[in-house]
């Protein structure tokens, strides 16, 4: 008990400590208020917002103190995403505002004395430069040759600018690098997408099944809250994960599966449920198409067959299948979120959807509910010009089932090796660090070298900003209006975001940036307002409320108009081509893919190598929070989880720094500390994604830990929808400092 508090906190994150307390002098720099001063309660104000630290977009309140500085951020009790409780990232969101490393002014790439450097420029000069380049691209190859990569609220404003300019080549890595296979897997089964937040009725589930989904480490707020309530109620949790995740540690059954064999387990579960006739007979008979095909398909996929593949005993497979059936239809096989793993991900997600179907949990209490979304009128603007082509023309029918644009295809369209007629010449990158989000960084960099224009809009100097021609500093969500949050949920609702403080430095809201740039492009007629507050106020007034009212409420809840679950006495039509739940997928068959999922073995790590797995920590979102002063202090670097046998075999000690080398010879830029732990098996190693930041301007996070993205050079593309499978990379340990130094 003689360790300091600081080391204790870090324990949960990295194992052995040895970490230095933050320098108290730093506190003055980042605007921390002197704790000895009492606060004048009458001067405290609150402003509604929804969080932008992750995509869950919890609604809450930003409190400012007597000096008008941000004091704290808390959840809004009327909000179904947060229920009045923010997660650590949302609570620490003020660190985004306070971070002294923020982008402060527009920066332009210039050449000085033969060396490229960034120079501070005025907003006006930045806009003139961008408008000129955009018009040149438009003249030479058409407006469609400009592409937008986006993530988050700021991106929506740029989407409108792109459409007004004449390009619908707009994409987000959150599809093909994350949840895309899930959308296609469930859509081909139930005719509905999952979307966000996932419409899972965790609140009422009696049996929760997690396939590599680490709720609690992924801090999807309302789901974490509901899982906790499920634990309280004594619900069964079954977690399939090669690592003892936090969720696994709270589960009745933890199935430490051999990585990359999940489909075999899912098929065996279906074998048990079908052969023992444990499925929901009435539901399947009424709604499902293809039961006989499925029966024949899984007849030989016995638990004994799966045991040899997955290393999960046949007994446990049977026992867990029976337990799922016992609680059905209140059994939920959670679709997860980041599911681009091995390239056959759509099929794995389909197997999960089909298992839900057999248990009758789609549209049933304790399974999946039917979400409803508020209808928000569009602010009036002139029609957008027609476009001559989009990314779909480049693909010419490939990935036809993809429901959204595929970010890696945009990289292909920009790459010098693109021989199609559809070429991308310029990028806007808004709020997404493509260097980390799209695997095969080398290819992304080659595409970037081939561009005529790269505009990066961000709040922080992420790696992608280093390659920009021009960098535009966006202010944080705490300093701006944005579109209302309109997300599907148990009840339709909207949440507003209102600035709590003025933009720091010379940073600006995206809606302002877009309006000013539109003026230079002579597109002002599309952006007919002076402040985005006007747009929201107009929309709210059409809905019978107002911005003034919403400043007091933050969240507007509405009544449902349709049933939340399938009405047992009524006919229910599904959105598939047969109008039924497709256990046998006609869409997949038509596109030439397996209509029922098959297990295919994946490559194993070579001798001396270990599969690289990665995931989330509850206090961080991707790489965007690594430098946040509040969150960095909770976890300032990632560590490498290594089984004690693996550590012994490789002479590694707890806390030792190692570099990693992958199967293609790529060595990590930085070292990572080894965490020797029994929580992981012998065939893989694990790290939290988002560290190893390589931009020196990120002073707090530069060079701390490793970026898994850098080591993901083997990308297995999902033939169904173009997703990028990232879990087939293998690493070995390098204990001596490699010769090459990172230069940035």
């Amino acid at each position: 008990m003689n360790k300091s508090r600081r080391e204790f906190i870090k324990l949960s994150a990295i194992g052995a400590g040895g970490l230095v307390l933050a320098n108290p002098l730093l506190n003055a720099m980042i605007g921390q208020v002197n704790a000895a001063e009492p606060m004048d309660a009458s001067k405290i104000k609150r402003f509604p917002t929804y969080c932008e630290v992750c995509f869950w977009k919890c609604a809450g309140w930003v409190y400012t103190d007597e000096k008008g500085e941000i004091w704290k951020i808390e959840g809004n009790e009327d909000d179904p995403h947060s229920n009045g409780r923010f997660c650590p990232r949302g609570t620490g969101g003020l660190g985004m505002y306070n971070d002294p490393d923020r982008l402060k002014t527009p920066l332009m790439r210039v050449e000085e004395n033969g060396k490229q450097t960034f120079k501070e420029v005025s907003w006006d000069k930045a806009f003139r430069f961008i408008a000129e380049k955009m018009n040149k691209i438009k003249e030479e190859s058409g407006p469609e040759s400009l592409a937008l990569f986006k993530h988050g609220s700021g991106g929506a404003h740029f989407g409108k600018l792109f459409k007004a300019f004449g390009s619908k080549n707009i994409t987000a890595p959150s599809y093909a690098q994350c949840r895309g296979p899930r959308e296609v897997g469930f859509n081909t089964t139930f005719g509905s997408n999952i979307n966000s937040p996932e419409p899972v009725d965790l609140e009422n589930t009696k049996c929760l099944v997690l396939i590599g989904n680490h709720i609690g480490e992924n801090m999807h707020n309302s789901h974490v809250q509901e899982m906790s309530k499920a634990i309280d109620r004594g619900a069964t949790i079954i977690t399939v994960d090669p690592r003892l995740s936090t969720a696994a540690s709270k589960s009745k059954y933890w199935l430490p599966i051999k990585p990359a064999t999940d489909i075999a387990l899912l098929l065996a579960w279906m074998n048990v449920i079908v052969s023992e006739e444990l499925y929901d007979k009435k539901y399947i008979e009424q709604y499902a198409y293809g039961l006989e095909d499925l029966q024949a398909h899984v007849a030989d996929k016995t638990p004994e067959w799966a045991e040899k593949i997955t290393s999960i005993s046949a007994d446990v497979i049977r026992q867990t299948a029976r337990e799922m059936a016992f609680h059905a239809p209140a059994t939920l096989i959670h679709p997860g979120r980041h599911v681009t793993w091995y390239g056959d991900d759509t099929q794995r997600l389909r197997a999960m959807a089909m298992l839900n179907a057999l248990l009758g949990s789609w549209g049933r209490k304790g399974g999946f509910y039917f979400p409803e979304k508020a209808k928000v009128p569009s602010y009036p603007h002139p029609g957008y010009p027609p476009v001559n082509w989009t990314w779909k023309d480049h693909l010419d029918g490939t990935y036809a089932l993809a429901g959204s644009s595929i970010a890696n295809v945009f990289v292909d369209m920009s790459h010098p090796d693109n021989e199609s007629d559809y070429k991308i010449k310029g990028w806007f990158v808004v709020g997404t660090n493509l260097i980390s989000t799209i695997p095969d960084t080398q290819r992304t960099l080659e595409a970037i070298q081939n561009l005529d224009l790269l505009v990066v809009v961000d709040t922080m100097p992420m790696e992608i900003t280093g390659y920009a021609d021009i960098i535009l500093p966006e202010c944080t969500y705490l300093e701006r209006y944005d579109d209302m949050r309109v997300s599907p949920n148990r009840f339709p609702n909207v949440a507003v975001r209102v600035p709590a403080v003025k933009p720091k430095y010379l940073s600006k809201p995206s809606d302002w940036i877009v309006r000013k740039l539109a003026k230079k492009l002579k597109l002002s007629k599309h952006f007919n307002y002076e402040s985005y507050g006007e747009v929201i106020d107009w929309q709210l007034k059409q809905m019978g409320s107002s911005l003034a009212e919403m400043k007091e409420k933050g969240v507007l809840k509405m009544e449902r108009k349709t049933p939340m679950f399938i009405d047992e006495d009524d006919y229910h039509e599904f959105g598939t081509s047969t109008g039924m739940i497709e256990l046998y997928s006609l869409d997949l068959e038509m596109e030439g893919f397996d209509p029922i999922p098959n297990y295919t073995p994946h490559p194993e790590p070579p001798q001396g190598f270990y599969r690289l797995n990665y995931g989330r920590a509850p206090m961080h979102t991707f790489g965007r929070t690594a430098n946040n002063p509040n969150l960095n202090e909770l976890m300032s670097e990632n560590c490498l989880w290594v089984n004690p046998f693996v550590a012994a075999d490789n002479n590694l000690e707890n806390g030792q720094e190692v570099w990693l080398k992958n199967q293609d010879g790529v060595v990590s830029d930085f070292p990572i500390k080894v965490r020797v732990t029994e929580r992981i098996g012998k065939d893989n190693v694990y790290m939290v994604h988002g560290f190893g930041r390589a931009n020196k301007k990120l002073k707090r996070s530069f060079g701390k830990g490793i970026s898994d993205s850098q080591l993901i050079t083997n990308v297995m593309v999902d033939p169904v929808m173009g997703g990028t499978g990232m879990r087939g990379n293998f690493v070995s340990f390098v204990t001596d400092k490699p010769e090459s130094e990172v230069i940035s």
């Binding site: 906190i9 704790a35 000895a36 409780r85 923010f86 650590p88 801090m219």
Partner: protein, 177 residues
Amino acid sequence: MRYAMVIDTKKCVGCSDCVVACQNENRVPIGYCRDWVIEHAKGTFPNVSIELRSERCNHCENSPCVRCCPTGASHYEDGGLVKVTRHECIGCGACVQSCPYDARYSHPDGFVDKCTFCHHRLQEGKLPSCVSVCPTECMYFGDLDDKESKVYQLLQNRNWKILAPEVGTKPHVYYLI
């Protein structure tokens, strides 16, 4: 009245939200904290389990920190709260050394600081900020003298432990196990 905090280790996911919320609420300078989270792992793969625990000042009934304070700055208040009166504290750090839970730190402004169970919030009828922010609702706060209270009920019906019982401090933070 006897204030107590009951923390359910079966529900805690170790997210450390309690730490950030406390830092904001109580303006704890970055680099310091009044509460923290630890993880204990037991067993060998795959028969392994973990316990996650949010820790803080235990507001002990028999507090070494109050006993050793030379100026009386460390003192008890109603409900058994252990608090530090900042202007009476000379920052000698005797209490920091005496606390078996390492729950106190020397504030850069020259006094010793620690968890107050958010006394200022209790006075407004609110819960401590860590309790009210916790996404898993694994923390409970209330009056142990009130048999109707959730904290009393939980200790009646669940298995629990206190930290370092051997040092005889009689802590008032309880962990459900």
